[in-house]
Symmetry: D2
Subunit: 283 residues, 4 copies
């Protein structure tokens, strides 16, 4: 492991500040660094396009928040490069390393002591008139969501070609275990331990009060057919990319053929993160 | 009570069919009828603009669903004309009369035996840079809702000028008792008996898991300030009218100075409607 | 207002410590004090039975927690004596005064500046074979709850003699607004502003997933009939007194003919208490 | 497969009626039958103690409801005998065969066409002062539940010796996927597909509103320590067996070393059962 890719959140000053110390520290130890162009332009250094960094790197360090690391996980896709998430300004569910401990954890990463946690990803295809028109890979969730002005939508749902139900709701979240503490939790979904091989379906503001979140195995084919004429209805992927759906569009979701490899601080405690982020104190 | 206004749902054939029997029946009894133009054009009769019908009528019969009656209630506004809702094709929460019983209930209405139930309405103002730019009256709910592609929004909320909380959520529903069985219920809100003088605040997919629905007295001033830059964010009124909000817009909600007067079938049983509509059977 | 009753939580040392300062302070100002015997025995003073203190006092100061003040409110009943709740060791939903501010708030109480907030109470009767066998008054809630080993119970429920539904559940909470932030909240009920005149029915672990909390006006007669043979099933009142129910027992609940008068610190902010107690922070 | 065990629900007449046809039908085809003594005594036949039937049988037919089959699954334990559940008078989540289809499904069972579905079971140990004092095996759930008169309890919970949280609640449900549609669902838990290898922790009426259900892998050691002095607190197993817990008792739960083998009707549709039992219709 000689080549260290570094991708940073844009629009905040902290990553550049951190790099002023981190880059010399890495180079002195003999590592090559590949930093994204948006960040190096601030530092007056040469940088690399984000899209090339996964191919150039043995490991990628992300300086940002959960949004930044989600985009990097999609960028890495099937390349299998392990990712270390360093949270700027707090503690994230995915970017678990706090900046105070950056050098300590980097030592473990470079010496190979840092364990890798494999996280399930999902592949989503949109089919229109039976033809695939879009494909996405996500680490958190695939969300079908009506626009604010649209009426309630009907989402006819199949698992392995068997009819499940027609969700009458504001939308539907198809979430990985990693995504279970994101939007799915706000919509009433359960917490799934991040290493699980499960997919959870969580309806958003279901009109049918008995439609509860359903946890499934990861080897299923999920098909959601948009049955309503109401518009607009959107597909969002990890909360970031959007796609406008039409009546009778089919969203097919299966697990991705590869997993995200997250580097985990040695003594990390997942439940401690849950307690802190969800404020599990006395009432 | 001599003048009967009639307003129908558009785009379905049933109201015109019903009117073929109802209009002669009413005229034979000596009542004047004022039917909306959209419906009379199908019947080759002279009709009246919807907006004029409240001023022309002693009572208004609505043939449609909950959406139709909501629009009529807003149309009637402060004119105090009692409204009878006849549900086409089922049972509604507000349009409680089923078509099979139309003539029976009409007899009671005309003889003055039908009780009137007064329902709380809300007035909403939108203020931009401190200036009022829009005003609405609703029977069900005032909803602030992010667009499908927007991120979570911050809604700084005050009751009688006292800070309550900043909801971090997909949105916020400010509902009357009548509206408590509509969108608010899907978002996790309680059922309020429709004659209550209460307002309920129900967050939509709250990021803060402890933010529960709050029931308030009806004599409060509710102010919601949109604190997020994310766009689009919409105001919807009774699920039907939309308004695009900007950062720092203030939505002020108070009870309306008038109430909707609903004519209620004599032996109507509200809890029976709840049981039927919400499928309260054995599990 | 010359006579100050004082009732303290038993089994903790703080109240006696506070009284060592408070009693001389009050007497020096010319007030008579009536302290409960359990507390005065520690101080080697003469005391009074708790049950007599309401009749002896113009105002009662409670040093304890929400449990202590609930019992004092029931003790005061229809005597109309205003109560000041001082929370030992924290902040309570009902005992809103923190010990640091005791003297400051007492000054306001004694000068008559402290506003009184009237809180709805409930009266519950148990009828067996049509005969009343028990009567209770509560400030928080009347709860029917199956024992841990009993099976799910059927609670046939009527409002003003009209059938509502048969809750199939672990139990049912009939709560005042004051009680809405206690057990009802844990069971999924809404928060009711404490000054409201409403009663809320919240089922506990309902088998019927559509059975949501219902908010009612305060002028209703609620009747709950225990239809299951399973045993044991208990009635609990403000979480403290218990009564074993039998099949076909009827629990009748109406608002009490008197209200609890709580003395409220002048600049008290109810929503601030909600935020603190419910941990309404950023997620 | 020659030996057919039959175990029936006690106290209802239907099983004996069914056996009058089923037993001759089986014997004519050359099968040996082993029927429980409680049922044969009604039929004036010789029967067998329930506890012996698993050792005598190649397959066990259960005539009853979900409660009956749960007890048979615990009786079979590690003996690996497949079980067919026939629901008397309806449709159960576990007893999936309706009596109308009994002979059709029995043909499939006897010809070996009926697929076997393996269901995760849990083993629970209670430790007092570090010594095991009780052991149970369950198919649905292990529940710690306070008695109706006890106060809220503190359940200190560990996964694989790592502290998770201290649930302050009425209790805690540790459920299998099979049990996810039983008590856990009433307490707000998610639906888990029954073939999953997961365990779900669902708090009952949690005082801490952010304590959500957590889905875990099945290879964990769950330890729950009862930290409260309040009494009584009970352990219930599949809703049927009870055990009184004391302060500092530890409940250890792991997956059982064997699974229940359920015989599933060939064309069975799990989601159809969900839709029917949970009333997933249009709202």
């Amino acid at each position: 492991m000689k080549k260290i890719g570094i991708i940073c959140k844009i629009g905040i000053p902290e990553p550049a500040e951190i790099l002023k110390g981190l880059l010399p520290w890495l180079r002195q130890k003999g590592y090559e660094t590949y930093v994204d162009m948006e960040t190096t332009s601030i530092l007056n250094m040469e940088g690399f396009p984000r899209s090339q960094i996964p191919s150039l790197s043995d490991v990628i360090v992300v300086l940002g928040g959960d949004g930044t690391i989600l985009s990097v996980c999609r960028l890495v896709g099937d390349k299998g490069v392990p990712i270390l998430g360093v949270n700027i300004g707090g503690l994230g569910f995915i970017t678990e390393v706090q900046t105070e401990r950056l050098y300590e954890v980097m030592e473990n990463v470079l010496s190979g002591e840092c364990p890798v946690e494999e996280r399930l990803m999902l592949t989503a295809h949109v089919l229109r008139h039976g033809e695939p028109i879009a494909e996405y890979v996500v680490l958190n969730d695939v969300v079908v969501n009506k626009g604010a002005l649209a009426r309630i939508i009907d989402l006819e749902t199949y698992i392995n070609k068997t009819y499940v139900t027609t969700f009458r709701a504001d939308g539907l979240i198809i979430s990985t275990p990693t995504g279970s503490t994101a939007y799915s939790l706000s919509a009433g979904g359960p917490i799934l331990h991040p290493t699980l091989d499960n997919i959870v379906l969580t309806p958003i503001c279901s009109h049918t009060l008995t439609n509860r979140p359903i946890v499934l195995p990861d080897d299923v084919l999920i098909e959601v057919v948009l049955r309503s004429q109401t518009e607009p209805v959107y597909l969002t992927l990890d909360g970031q990319v959007g796609f406008s759906l039409r009546q009778d569009d089919v969203i097919e979701v299966v697990k991705a053929p590869f997993k995200t490899k997250l580097l985990i601080p040695c003594e990390r405690d997942y439940f401690q993160i849950l307690r802190t982020k969800l404020k599990w104190g006395e009432r």
